[in-house]
Symmetry: C2
Subunit: 332 residues, 2 copies
């Protein structure tokens, strides 16, 4: 593989000049540039990323951590991040945290060990304090899908509480009063906030929250099925079921149908996220849209602007959820 040295010899210029042509920072005369470029072509020269990193102290690599690589939600998020970064010629190195504190920390360490220029994280297990501490480190850290007051300038977040509020409000507007709820793990900020929105909507409407109709799920299909099973087992009637995400809603729908519940007539179900398959379920799932693709993009843009000095990229940091009315909810 040709090195910069051979190029400089062939082009009859110094190493520095070749470097300048590559990087385009400094001025180089057109004639010189041409000489260099043609030498590069002739040798099929390709810069060595590693050497470049060592000398420049930049790797052009952004580390990304998500809870899971499968799952519709994270897929969209990664797609948004990758698209943006790739356009800017930055490499994405990816790893998972599985929503567990220790694994998330390991994952972050793992990314840091690679000398990433920046980190974009979707973490659910680690504490705010940990993140604040991490942010003081040398490597800039950006958070997608989570807002931490003290480092909010590094966060891209959704107003989850409002989303939860929207969901339940729409259910209430359809006249439901007996409403069950399947939540996400209550250590996850998303889950907590959505549930807070739910409670707020109820209280505003003067509807009492029935603790027996609350189930803590896990944001997965199976959790949704387990949830509705438990809720039905209470024997307490309910006409609507609010799920903290679409996966659980789909699990609940499946279970309900298998147990003779006629959807949506007997039971209205609403989800959260609006992942792609929500629209392909039957009945089509009413849900709250979480613009995670765009939020992923924004996380990437934030990094591009702050770390790589891309000026004038617009970054929106706080997103608002939106209700997607479909067929899985019906007036009581």
């Amino acid at each position: 593989m040709a090195t910069i040295y051979e190029v400089s010899k062939l082009a009859n210029v110094s190493l520095a000049t070749v470097s300048r042509v590559m990087n385009g920072n400094t001025k180089v005369s057109d004639k010189t540039r041409e000489k260099v470029l043609s030498a590069m072509r002739e040798l099929g020269y390709r810069p060595n990323a590693t050497a470049r990193s060592l000398a420049s102290n930049r790797t052009d690599t952004v580390g990304v951590l998500v809870s899971e690589l499968n799952g519709a939600f994270f897929g969209e998020m990664m797609a948004g991040i990758e698209q943006e970064l790739r356009l800017a010629d930055k490499h994405v190195i990816i790893t998972t945290g599985h929503s567990e504190e220790e694994k998330e920390k390991d994952g972050i360490e793992f990314l840091l060990s690679r000398n990433c220029d920046a980190l974009i994280l979707h973490v659910e297990g680690v504490s705010d304090e940990y993140m604040i501490e991490l942010s003081k480190g040398k490597v800039p850290v950006y958070l997608v899908g989570r807002n931490i007051e003290q480092i909010s300038e590094n966060c891209i977040s959704l107003d989850n509480e409002y989303g939860g509020y929207l969901a339940t409000t729409s259910i209430l507007a359809q006249g439901h009063k007996e409403i069950a709820y399947i939540a996400g793990q209550q250590f996850k900020p998303d889950a907590i906030e959505r549930f807070a929105g739910h409670k707020k909507a109820l209280s505003e409407a003067g509807v009492e929250l029935n603790q027996s109709l609350f189930f803590e799920g896990d944001f997965k299909e199976t959790g949704g099925a387990a949830g509705i099973k438990a809720l039905l087992a209470t024997g307490i009637p309910f006409t609507a079921l609010v799920c903290a995400n679409d996966e659980m809603a789909s699990g609940a729908m499946k279970y309900a149908r298998e147990h003779g519940i006629d959807l949506p007539k007997d039971l209205s179900i609403i989800g959260f996220d609006n992942v792609i398959f929500a629209n392909y379920l039957y009945p089509k799932l009413t849900t709250v849209e979480y613009p995670i693709f765009e939020m992923g993009q924004m996380g990437a843009k934030l990094a591009l602007r702050e770390v790589y000095g891309k000026q004038d990229v617009y970054v929106k940091q706080v997103f608002s959820p939106q209700l997607k009315m479909r067929d899985s909810t019906l007036p009581v």
Copy 2:
């Protein structure tokens, strides 16, 4: 950040010895090792991955290219790859090819520019010839989900034709004779092979293939909807619909239902892949299982064995699909 140099000074040994302790290849006396290790601890030393790469000509990084980052299928594949590689302390850098020849080539270039130690690809747009040529290069290339005869020792693949055969055979076994087909893009090997299996099953059963009941989709929900729409528009009756993947099946199901078709009574639909949501559709989708998570793992293992010299890892290269009988297909 402490460097190896400071460690060597504190431990009173040479750079080389510190390096040996880190890498554990060469023998170092226990006493020396302890000295070095404690010096490392004291300084909070962490090796610089970049410098290490430059000197060793290894990056401990594997480049992965998939068509899309969203999508249930690719999510599983990446999860399998990442899990395996992470366990072996290898970093995964990921990018997309969007099933287009040029973009795939760009993506591969992009990964190569990062000096990956190996590439694991799921490519659909590039030709066999291109891949064979690429394999002659310096960087080992492994293919998941595609088999190319000349480089089959680097491939992890599924017997797609058999899968297609299985699907249609199961439909025929239920007495269907009027069978429509929604295929994937006919430049993609998967799509071609599955369809070949379909034809084989038909011909074995003495059922004639009706060209008018063939539609070339795009492996996406929307393509499935467009497909069934076109098929219905022919006016030719059919009692079963074979889709080349689950996404299209789900799109077709949605469209069918919206147009008054009673599933599965009026129409049996079968998919391919067995992505997670197949089981949450209504009716639950009969499909052919594609063990892509495991295949991703195998791709990673192959790389670990061949590139990183991990002995004795067992690698299975050819997988067999399996029929998943569910509720979306019914005897005629």
